[in-house]
C-alpha cells in the first residue's frame, strides 16, 4: 500500500492512543499498558483492513473483531467512536454507571462489539465459532481476534486453535500481542510462554512474526494473511511494547491496570502529540 496511507494510519494510531489515555484518566480506572500495545493492530483493522459498516453494526457480512484480552477495550472503544459507531462524547463515560462502555466489552450494550469478553482465554473460541459459520454459509467475512501472550497460558486458547485447524479456518486472523508482561510480572517470571509463535505453527497456523507496533509491518502481514487461502488459520505473532507511545509506561508492568494522575496524564498527552508525522 502507499506510504501516504501508512502515514495516515500512524497518525490515526496516535489519535487512538490519546483517546485511550484520556478515557482512562477521566475514568481513573482501566488498563493503559495493553491498550497501547494493541493500538496499532486495532487501528490497522478498523481504518484499513476490515469490512464494517458503523451504521449497520450487525451486518451479517461484516468482518468480526474480537478483543479476547477484553481488558484493553479502551483501544477498541476509541476506534469504534472514531469510526462513528457512537458519538465521541460517549468515550467520557468509560466504566461509569449506565455506560455502554463497560469495564470489559459488552456486546449487548455497545454497538460494534461482536462478543462480550473480559474473562481471558475465551474470545478465541467464540471467533472460531463465527469463522466456522462463515465457512459453512459461504460468506466471505473474516474474523480478527486479539489475544495476549499472557492469555495464551489459558488452556482454552489451545483447544480453540486445534478446532481452527480441524475446520480449516483461513478466514481467522489471530493477533498475538506479545508484549512480554502480565499483571504479576514478566511472562518469563510468571509462566514462560515457551516458543509461543512455534506453538501456533504446531497447531496448524500460518505464523507471521512481526513488530506489532510497526504500522507498515502490521498492515503488510494482514494483507498477506488475507490473501493466502490455503485452509490454514493465520497468526500474526506480534512483538509489541506494553505501554507503547508513553515513555514512562513502556515495558512497565505497573501500568497494566493503573490510571495516570494529572501530571502523568499531561506528560503522556504531550509525548503523544509529538508523535504525529507531517506529510
Amino acid at each position: 500500500m502507499e506510504g501516504n496511507s501508512i502515514r495516515e494510519l500512524k497518525n490515526t494510531a496516535v489519535d487512538l492512543r490519546k483517546h485511550v489515555i484520556d478515557m482512562i484518566y477521566k475514568a481513573q480506572s482501566g488498563h493503559p499498558g495493553g491498550s497501547l500495545s494493541v493500538a496499532d493492530f486495532v487501528t490497522a483493522c478498523y481504518f484499513q483492513e476490515m469490512r464494517v459498516d458503523p451504521k449497520n453494526p450487525k451486518w451479517e457480512d461484516r468482518d468480526r473483531f474480537i478483543l479476547s484480552k477484553g481488558h484493553v477495550c479502551p483501544a477498541q472503544y476509541a476506534a469504534l467512536a472514531m469510526k462513528g459507531y457512537f458519538g465521541m462524547e460517549v468515550l467520557d463515560t468509560l466504566r461509569k454507571e449506565g455506560s455502554m462502555l463497560q469495564g470489559h466489552p459488552d456486546m449487548k450494550k455497545c454497538p460494534g462489539i461482536d462478543i462480550s469478553t473480559g474473562s481471558l482465554g475465551q474470545g478465541l473460541a467464540c471467533g472460531v465459532g463465527m469463522a466456522i459459520d462463515g465457512k459453512r454459509r459461504g460468506r466471505d467475512y473474516r474474523v480478527y481476534v486479539a489475544v495476549g501472550d499472557g492469555e495464551c497460558q489459558e488452556g482454552e486458547i489451545w483447544e480453540a486453535c486445534q478446532t481452527a485447524n480441524k475446520y480449516r479456518l483461513d478466514n481467522l486472523i489471530v493477533f498475538v500481542d506479545d508484549n512480554g508482561l502480565q499483571l504479576d510480572g514478566t511472562t518469563d517470571e510468571v509462566m514462560p510462554n515457551i516458543n509461543l509463535g512455534h506453538k501456533f505453527q504446531a497447531f496448524g497456523f500460518d505464523v507471521y512474526e512481526i513488530d506489532g507496533n510497526d504500522m507498515e509491518q502490521v498492515v503488510a502481514a494482514i494483507e498477506l494473511a488475507k490473501t493466502v487461502k490455503n485452509g490454514h488459520p493465520k497468526c500474526l505473532f506480534a512483538h509489541t511494547v506494553k505501554g507503547k507511545g508513553v515513555s514512562f509506561m513502556e515495558n512497565e508492568c505497573g501500568w497494566h491496570g493503573t490510571a495516570p494522575n494529572k501530571e502523568q496524564y499531561e506528560q503522556a498527552m504531550k509525548e503523544l502529540d509529538s508523535q504525529y508525522t507531517a506529510s
Partner: protein, 316 residues
Amino acid sequence: MEEKKIATRDGFGEAIVELGKENPDIYVVDIDIGKSCKTGQFRKELPEQYLNVGIAEQNAAGVAAGLATCGRIPFVVTYAAFGSMRICEMIRQEICYPKLNVKIACSHGGVTPANDGASHQCIEDMGIMRTLPNMTVVMPADYVSAKALVKAAAAWDGPVYLRFTRDAVPVIYEEGETFEIGKAKELRGGNDVALIANGDTVRLALKAAEELEQKGIAARVLDMHTVKPLDREAVLDCIHTAKAIVTVEDHNIYNGLGSAVAELVSENSGARMRRIGIQDQFGQSAPYERLLEMNGITVENIVKQAEELLEQKNRG
C-alpha cells in the same frame, strides 16, 4: 402390565434430529461423547449442522457462543458433570451474560450414571446453573417429556440447561402430551400433601401418592420439570391449599428443586416442608436404584415424610 423404560437421553437424540431437519439453524456441538449422548443420528443425517470439537468442553461453549451470534441455535452436548462445572464460567461469560441462544444438553444427570461412579454422576448441576442470571434449567421426567421439552428449549429465546438420564426410566406420559417451560404438570390432584418432584424421581412421587391414597391421604403430584423459572403459581397453590410439601429430586438437597421450593415457602409462611434428595455426599459405583436408596430417595421415604408432615400439620 410391565413398565416401559427408556432413558431420557434417547428422547433428546430423537428430538434433536427432528428439530435439525425442520430448522437448518439447529446445530449440535459434540465433545467426543456424542455416541453416548445420542447424537449419532444427527451426525449421520445432518453433517452440515454438526461439529465435534474433541475433548475440549471450554472451547465447545465458546464455539457455540460464536455460532449463536451468527444466528444459529447450537446445542452443546455432553455429560452433566462437564456441562455444568467444567465449563461453568464459559457458560456464564459467553452464553448467559450476553444471553445468547445456546442450549447445554446433558446426559448422565443425577446418580443415573450409576456404575460409572462419582466422577460421572452429577448432583450439583441444577443448583449451579440456577444461580446464573438468564439461565433456564430443565429436567424432563421421562422419554416423552424429554422429546417435548427439547423442542420447547429450541423455541425458547436464550440459554437453557437440559438434563437427561443415562439409565432407562419409566415412561409416564402418553405420546402427544404437551409441555411448557416454566409450567409444572399436575399429575395427580390432592390437598392433604403436595409431592413436588422432577426428573427420574417423578415416578417415585407417583407411586408414593398411590400408597398414601391407600392410607386415606390425598397427595398432589407435580412434575416440576423446570427448576428455573420456577412455576411460582403452582408452588404457592401447594403452600396455600396443601400446607404440606415434600420435594423429591435426584440432586443434592442443596440448591436444587427442594431449595427453590423452600425459598418460596420461607417467603410465604403457612406450609411445612421436607426435602428428599442426595444427602450432600458423593456417590459410588452401584446400581442406580441402590444409590437412590442410600439417600432416602425412595417411595417408602416419601410416604414416611408425608405422613410425618401431616401429623405435625394436624397437631397445628
